[in-house]
Symmetry: none
């Protein structure tokens, strides 16, 4: 990353801010340039300083961290909000996402992970504590409920393992020569497999093979 990451910390407890500040500034690339004790104050400081990242405790007097995160783009468009919380409550996590937060970290996140998270976020990625990913993953799975079953590779054509492996490479656009090289086999072998695969699938050319595989979600 290019240069120092400027951070503003918002938490209504000075002690907590000090603790986090000490933790973060042990890394030479991170600098805490401002602090705030409430959501409103956080926005005000962010407007003045335009830090790279605004770390917001979720629970603060007046305006919560979630609210502040949602308003952040109005006052400091380039600044990325990160929510700090004690709980990995599903509600909070999803609200943070909705609020446009770039991260959701638990307060018991250890130092290394915290720093890693901030660095990743400063590059524009999102970072959610691993413990929180549970919420995201479940949400994603429930969003596409019927999929997970039919998303599993089906196998109605009794393709062997090798055949599937080769099929995968074929679909990836590799030609027989390349596949042969990758697998350390002769081109003739690949051709044979390919012939057998097409026979099993009942198709007459490579493109129909690809279409069939994609459509029927084989592999």
């Amino acid at each position: 990353m290019n240069g120092t990451i400027n951070i503003v910390l918002a938490d209504d407890h000075v002690l907590v801010r000090n603790g986090i500040k000490a933790m973060l500034e042990s890394d030479p690339d991170i600098r805490v340039v401002g602090e705030a004790g409430s959501g409103a104050e956080a926005l005000e400081v962010a407007r003045q300083l335009h830090p790279d990242i605004l770390v917001l405790d979720i629970r603060m007097p007046g305006m919560t961290g979630l609210e502040a995160a949602a308003r952040l783009p109005e006052v400091a468009p380039g600044t990325k909000a990160v929510i700090l919380s004690m709980h990995d409550s599903e509600d909070y996590v999803l609200q943070a996402l909705d609020a446009g937060a770039y991260g959701y970290l638990l307060k018991d996140t250890d130092k290394n992970e915290f720093i890693r998270a901030l660095k990743q976020i400063s590059t524009g990625n999102k970072y959610f504590s691993g413990s929180v990913s549970n919420v995201l993953a479940n949400r994603l799975l429930n969003a596409k409920p019927s999929k997970s079953a039919s998303e599993l590779p089906r196998d109605p054509y009794h393709l062997t393992r090798r055949e599937k492996e080769i099929l995968r490479l074929v679909i990836d656009g590799k030609q027989n020569k390349q596949i042969a090289d990758v697998l350390g086999k002769s081109v003739r072998t690949i051709e044979t497999h390919r012939f057998n695969i097409m026979k099993k699938l009942g198709v007459n050319n490579a493109i129909d093979m690809v279409n069939k595989v994609v459509k029927e979600n084989l592999i």
Copy 2:
């Protein structure tokens, strides 16, 4: 659930297995009870030992970790699969989810996080490395915005009308002879169009052409 967590490690490199094993067994609650060097072997060992967690490297000879994860319920219903990977590729992460994996950890995950992840997974939660959560979060956010922009066929390659028409037929699995018949043109004409299309798209074979068109939502 409050006893020892039994783990089976699957990675095709003994060194990697040893490293992870040493790392994990520094925790008194975790025991590595088996190892495997391939996806198939992993399933076999899982069937015999029914561990709490099966840690699968994503890249293994023959059957990938993702495939093995998907098949795991058939051979060891209670065992939870965790994918280990070098990359936080979006594809892999989502595939892992689909495969029913309980976790996706990057290989550079540090010891504490690794152990925390396994403990959380053993209780039935999911755990995705923070760096990976980026993928999940974006997926969740993009789930509904039915991209009005990318829904429309894009045209960054300046394909002519005829070229698109032919491209459509090619993707439909038609071969040049058939296309020529349908359009009442000579096969050479179709070949020329096809050559020009591939040139414009910058691909070297039909399958990559299909892939590109599908992926980039041309046509």
